[in-house]
């Protein structure tokens, strides 16, 4: 695995978050005087499993919107390629707003835990999101999805779309690289009025719009942006807004 390539940034984050997690557990136990089982600060058999999900933006010029991180069973999906996007996915992919997607996930019986990222993730930057799940869900079929908008695009998103997690020992980590998708809900005009990200500063920068005017109302792998530097009339994007696969790296660590 490629942790060595990234030692300066993320490994420090792992350790720091792990310390915070243990501190929180200690505090919780101290506040429960009627809990006789007070020797399990480092107990692998506590009632919950905690995962740290570190999201890294691998692009040159595409900030990520606040991510949606969802742990779920093997059959739940935020989207299916070749099928129309839900309005919740469209809302994330066109405007970077993850609220509807997370609200729908919260209501789904196959979803075991979910969280929003803390904010946008700049190109090259990483962020760690911590999620605690009931332990019963750490079993075959446990899967993770991570979704974020590429904000200097019409309706592009980077997504890990329901990858299966084998049972992880404490401290064991898994690394994934993620593809980018086109939600198929908005024409890829690349104009100053239809892209919500900073590349369209000064324009209308529209986010979500319920109209579906892409060539096909279906989620596909993203073909990338064309940009004005590559001859697209009307595009506000420049060469640095192009990207390639993979667009995102996701590391999942079980910390407790």
């Amino acid at each position: 695995m490629n942790r060595k390539a990234n030692l300066t940034g993320t490994s420090g984050v792992y350790r720091w978050s792990a310390i915070l997690g243990i501190t929180a557990l200690t505090t919780l136990l101290a506040g429960c005087p009627f809990d006789g089982d007070n020797d399990n600060v480092n107990d692998n058999n506590s009632d919950t499993d905690t995962f740290e999900v570190t999201i890294t933006n691998l692009t040159a010029g595409q900030p990520f919107s606040p991510a949606a991180v969802i742990f779920h069973g093997q059959h739940w999906r935020a989207f299916t390629t070749g099928e129309p996007a839900s309005v919740a996915l469209e809302t994330l992919a066109e405007g970077g707003n993850n609220a509807s997607l997370l609200a729908e996930a919260a209501d789904a019986s196959q979803v075991y835990g979910h969280a929003s990222g803390h904010g946008p993730i700049a190109p090259g930057a990483s962020e760690t999101v911590t999620i605690t799940l009931p332990e019963a869900h750490n079993r075959d079929g446990l899967s993770v999805s991570v979704l974020t908008m590429l904000v200097n695009s019409n309706d592009g998103l980077a997504a890990l779309n329901g990858v299966s997690l084998p049972a992880l020992e404490e401290r064991q980590s898994l690394h994934f690289t993620a593809l980018s998708y086109d939600s198929g809900t908005e024409a890829n005009t690349e104009t100053v009025d239809t892209i919500p990200g900073p590349a369209a500063s000064g324009g209308a920068q529209e986010g979500f719009n319920p109209v579906r005017d892409d060539v096909r109302d279906a989620v596909a792998l993203h073909g990338g942006v064309v940009t004005q530097d590559d001859g697209m009339t009307g595009s506000v994007l420049r060469a640095q807004h192009r990207w390639d696969h993979p667009a995102m790296r996701v590391t999942v660590v079980r910390t407790d």
Binding site: M1, P166, L179, R216, A220, L221, G224, V226
Partner: protein, 235 residues
């Protein structure tokens, strides 16, 4: 270890069970993940160890050339037949549209066909093709998913204009579903055949449907690899 490695490289392995039976009966589902690229009739075959469709860095065979330039898989089918391959070609019954899927069934019982290959031409391209090239067919029953990349056969210059599907002739064929979305009157991009199979660099295209350097639409026909998901279910 194998599971961990597969997961980290993006292959999803689902439903692993510890049984040790020889693969005999499998289905292969090919999903076109692109936004605007069509696949020509797919060759889907199980074949013996030691055989493969092509080797990157080496010149394409005439059979790969015919497939990649014009979508003709008859040469490949004949070659695979002479190897004793198990074939289920053209599962889509023609073109596989963007976003669409097709499923082929293969039964390798009583054969030595342990390798799986899937390939088809990509339209609109001059000699681009999608391929899964001689992967080991899993022997444990379960569902396995693989991503397949686009390659360039290296047999034709990528001039990106309408033209011929015959080997050695310039341009690409335009079957009916592509007619409205492929431009006309392009001057063409100056490009020579590369001479060897390699990962496709993608198409340039342009945003002028009636002129410009390319008949390909830059906003519709570009892709970033991979271009297909291939799901193998071993029964």
């Amino acid at each position: 270890m194998k599971l961990t490695r597969a997961v980290t490289t993006g292959l999803a392995i689902l439903g692993l069970t510890p049984a040790l039976v020889q693969a005999a009966d499998l289905t292969v589902t090919i999903e076109n993940l692109t936004r605007g690229v069509y696949f020509t009739p797919l060759a889907v075959a199980a074949h013996p160890e030691g055989s493969q469709l092509f080797q990157t860095g080496q010149p394409a065979s005439t059979q790969i050339q015919a497939m990649a330039e014009g979508g003709d898989i008859s040469g490949l089918a004949g070659q695979l037949s002479s190897l004793g391959a198990t074939q289920a070609n053209n599962p889509a019954g023609g073109l596989l549209a963007p976003g669409a899927s097709a499923t082929a069934s293969l039964n390798t019982d009583g054969t030595a066909n342990t390798q799986l290959s899937v390939t088809a031409m990509l339209l609109p391209t001059n000699d681009g093709f999608v391929a899964l090239n001689a992967i080991d067919i899993p022997t444990t029953p379960g569902t396995y998913s693989f991503y397949a990349n686009a390659y360039d056969a290296g047999t034709e210059g990528n001039d990106e204009v309408r033209g011929s599907g015959s080997p050695g002739e310039a341009g690409f064929p335009v079957p009916p579903p592509l007619e409205p979305v492929v431009g006309t009157g392009a001057t063409g991009i100056t490009a020579a055949a590369e001479g060897f199979v390699h990962i496709h660099r993608g198409v340039l295209g342009d945003s002028d449907n009636g002129a410009g350097p390319s008949d390909i639409d830059s906003g519709l026909h570009r892709w970033l690899n991979p271009v297909a998901r291939i799901t193998v279910t071993v029964n």
